[in-house]
């Protein structure tokens, strides 16, 4: 059978084009790579090359013809021993059309997204000793313990080794683990983030410290395009077991470029795990879980919380489940949901509100992705009222996401419109008074609770 040569497409969106010129005539011998014709569209020209060896049989579409539809037969190619009489006289239908054209997109609706069921926190042994340590110590212990446990874990970043960490989170690690595993980098966030992801592809378990997440915007391409998407793009073959960590959000009086909260940015990315702890115990248990995870993890700390203390259970291996919110206080009147630094405002507000007779339920998300919305929705079904608290900007924030989920799944249970307490919709100002105004406050949370409970 002669081979039918079809009008090719230059792009998936091309439907027709001009057959500008034939470079062969019937009877010409051609081999793979020989240019047969030139076709043109308004955007581009392309040479049609032969893929096969043979002799040009018949030409169906003469040169200069406009608006030739893609996949129209334009010529035949005869194999050795065939002659032109074997060629159909008229333009044949495209050969085996179903087999040689792209399948129509499947019309079926997308399947439902599988749910995620988080695990509960592990039970602690009865009478376990609780030790008061800072969040800084908790993070430091988590890294040290995991580095002792697994030789593939290493920490890399600016000033993490000899300087002992810009915020002293890596203090003592160089002394214990040496310069092979505790590595000072040049000031090249994009480069060392990518280097870390490459090392993770090869099976190591890097902890990449960003001096602050503000600097990680230089590296966000590697975090999202290389780390987050790798498993999916490889059809499940290549994992990126890496932790990116450092302080996120506003510190104090450092201005707009050093005071951004990236929670909602990273939490919108499938493939990333995003953790933002508040307490020392959560910082330790979740950082250990992050280092063990085979998924890429964005671990958002907070500079102001580094020095705060909390009780951490003294057990050999304190690991908390990723993706599980913590109910910090049970109550029945109103649900306050927050995470990281927002929990400070929420906790202080809850104390005052409880004293004033409002039975607050306070939820610390701890993990932002996957988000434990089940815990939040169950709470709102009980209280009928929702206040979210975060330092980030209002538009497309974590609060916006929570409100959307609650409205979708617990609309009938709501007794008041939910209220979001957020940072103000401005870059962070430097002046002390303006910075204070830009950030959420305990009073903002109290006012929000008063609004949703119709107290005023």
């Amino acid at each position: 059978m002669p081979i039918t040569i079809l009008m090719p497409a230059l792009s998936p969106t091309m439907e027709e084009g001009k057959l500008a010129k034939w470079l062969v005539k019937p009877g010409d011998a051609v081999k793979p790579g020989d240019v047969l014709a030139e076709i043109e569209t308004d955007k581009a020209t392309m040479e049609v090359e032969s893929v096969d060896t043979g002799t040009v049989g018949e030409i169906f579409v003469s040169e200069g013809t406009e608006a030739v539809k893609v996949n129209t037969p334009i010529a035949t190619l005869l194999a050795e021993g065939e002659d032109a009489s074997a060629s159909p006289k008229a333009a044949p239908a495209p050969v085996a059309a179903p087999a040689t054209t792209a399948p129509a997109p499947t019309a079926a609706a997308a399947p439902a997204q599988p749910g995620f069921t988080p695990q509960n926190d592990p039970d602690l042994p009865a009478g376990v000793e609780m030790v008061e340590i800072t969040v800084r110590q908790a993070l430091n212990e988590a890294m040290a313990e995991e580095m002792r446990r697994d030789g593939d874990v290493f920490v890399m970043g600016e000033e993490v080794a000899e300087y002992q960490g810009a915020y002293k989170i890596t203090q003592g690690l160089l002394q214990e683990f040496g310069e092979r595993r505790v590595i000072d980098t040049p000031i090249t966030e994009h480069g060392f983030a990518g280097l870390g992801v490459g090392a993770a592809f090869a099976g190591l378990r890097p902890i990449i410290e960003f001096m602050t997440w503000n600097f990680a915007m230089q590296a966000i391409d590697q975090i999202i395009n290389s780390a987050a998407k790798q498993l999916y793009m490889s059809g499940g073959q290549v994992t990126a077991p890496i932790v990116f960590r450092g302080p996120n959000g506003a510190a104090s009086r450092v201005g707009a470029q050093h005071s951004q909260d990236y929670s909602s940015w990273y939490s919108s990315v499938p493939g990333l795990v995003v953790i933002a702890p508040y307490s020392a115990a959560d910082a330790k248990g979740l950082l250990k879980a992050a280092i063990r995870s085979n998924n890429p993890v964005v671990f958002l700390e907070n500079e102001i919380l580094y020095g705060t203390t909390g009780l951490v259970p003294k057990v050999d291996d304190f690991v908390l489940p990723i993706g599980k919110a913590r109910i910090a206080r049970e109550g029945k009147d109103v649900t306050i949901v927050s995470f990281s630094m927002g929990m400070r405002y929420a906790t202080q507000a809850a104390e005052k509100l409880v004293a004033a007779g409002v039975d607050v339920e306070l939820i610390d998300l701890r993990t932002l992705r996957p988000m434990d919305s089940a815990t939040v929705i169950a709470s709102v079904k009980k209280t009928g009222r929702l206040v979210t608290v975060e330092e980030g900007w209002p538009q497309s924030g974590i609060g916006a996401e929570l409100v959307a989920r609650v409205v979708a799944e617990a609309f009938d249970y709501l007794d008041a419109p939910p209220v979001r307490v957020t940072g103000k919709d401005v870059p962070m100002p430097y002046a002390a008074n303006l910075e204070k105004l830009a950030l959420p406050s305990t009073d903002d949370v109290i006012a929000a609770v008063n609004a949703v409970t119709y107290r005023s």
Binding site: P186, L195, L231, S234
Partner: protein, 339 residues
């Protein structure tokens, strides 16, 4: 085709052995025929999106891979990646079925032309962001050194990528820590449609490591002998603990940047001259005939073998089913974190 007399041996041309010449011819022909088929299938609408063909550049990955410990040394490249996978031994059926977005593709149809990987063959993509593979490849080299496993990492990138900032961040760290990294700049003269001389203040890209203390060489990337020889030197340098090395391969792509390239930035004469005078496959073929390593029957047999492989790949990629709808939500996370 008529036997073409080989050029008179030039001084200092590193010759390949008979087996190497024959293998190089076969590998390069597989890439050429595979890519021609891919181009045809793209034209038929079977392959979507972007499709960047490697035709013309075959000698680069063929010569470098021949000089490496294939399957042990890591390799990573950008989006013009089909040739790399074929030479590294990935299944042509899986590559073609990925191009057509089918279940049997190397990434289950979820990656596409620019996103294919193989842990088994130590091929790390297939990366769509220009320059990103250089930092990633430097990380692969870091892992080699961390483990002390005596492997090297080979990162390919184009003349266009060679202007990206992260390339230099990576050069700096690679030299600072003497990582076993080989950087192969595939200079095919055009970053998309922009000529190197219109994009680079210093168009000699082999000098791009100078300020970091990294040695570099310009290599005739159309001559697989020169590629192989230089790559051996660079890989040995890296493997022996001396740190990174840069090879600028002077090469040429016959086809457009991608399938939808208007090709208005270069003359047809330039393309046809390169094809006629520097074709990497014809060069090897002439030497094989000249040295009587193989005769016309041998070439016919190789052509037939390659044709069968490519036809099988194309048939598989056309007949295979699309991924099941449920695949939409798989491979987002591991460890039971759901989707």
């Amino acid at each position: 085709m008529a036997r073409k007399p080989a050029d008179k041996p030039k001084a200092n041309i590193p010759e390949l052995t008979k087996d190497q010449e024959l293998a190089a011819f076969r590998d390069m022909l597989l890439i050429r025929r595979f890519e021609e088929k891919a181009g045809q299938m793209y034209g038929m609408g079977l392959i979507g999106g972007f499709c960047h063909l490697y035709i013309g550049q075959e000698a680069v990955v063929t010569g470098v891979t021949m000089a490496s410990h294939k399957g042990k040394d890591a390799q990573i490249t950008g989006y013009r990646d089909h040739g790399h996978m074929l030479v590294m031994g990935l299944d042509p059926k899986g590559v073609m079925a990925e191009l057509t977005g089918r279940q049997g593709g190397l990434s289950k149809g979820k990656g596409g032309s620019m996103h294919m990987f193989s842990n088994e063959h130590r091929f790390y993509g297939g990366n769509g962001i220009v320059g990103a593979q250089v930092s990633l490849g430097t990380g692969l080299a870091f892992a080699s050194k961390y483990r002390g496993d005596n492997t090297v990492s080979i990162s390919y990138f184009g003349d266009g990528a060679s202007n990206q900032g992260q390339v230099y961040e990576s050069f700096n760290m690679a030299k600072l820590w003497n990582l076993p990294a080989v950087y192969i700049i595939e200079n095919n003269r055009y970053g998309m449609g922009t000529a190197v001389t219109r994009a680079s203040g210093q168009p000699n890209l082999s000098l791009r490591g100078v300020s970091f203390g990294i040695e570099g060489e310009q290599v005739d990337g159309m001559d697989v002998r020169m590629v192989h020889d230089a790559a051996k030197r660079a890989i040995e340098h890296a493997r022996s603990g001396k740190g990174p090395y840069i090879l600028e391969m002077l090469t040429y792509r016959y086809r457009g940047h991608s399938m939808s390239d208007p090709a208005k930035y270069r003359s047809k004469d330039e393309v046809s001259t390169m094809r006629a005078e520097h074709d990497p496959i014809e060069q090897v073929k002439a030497r094989i005939l000249d040295k009587r390593y193989g005769d016309e029957d041998w070439f016919k047999a190789v052509e037939a073998e390659i044709r069968a492989i490519v036809t099988e790949a194309a048939d598989f990629a056309t007949a295979d089913t699309e991924p099941a709808p449920a695949e939409l939500y798989t491979d987002v996370y591991v460890d039971g974190l759901g989707a």
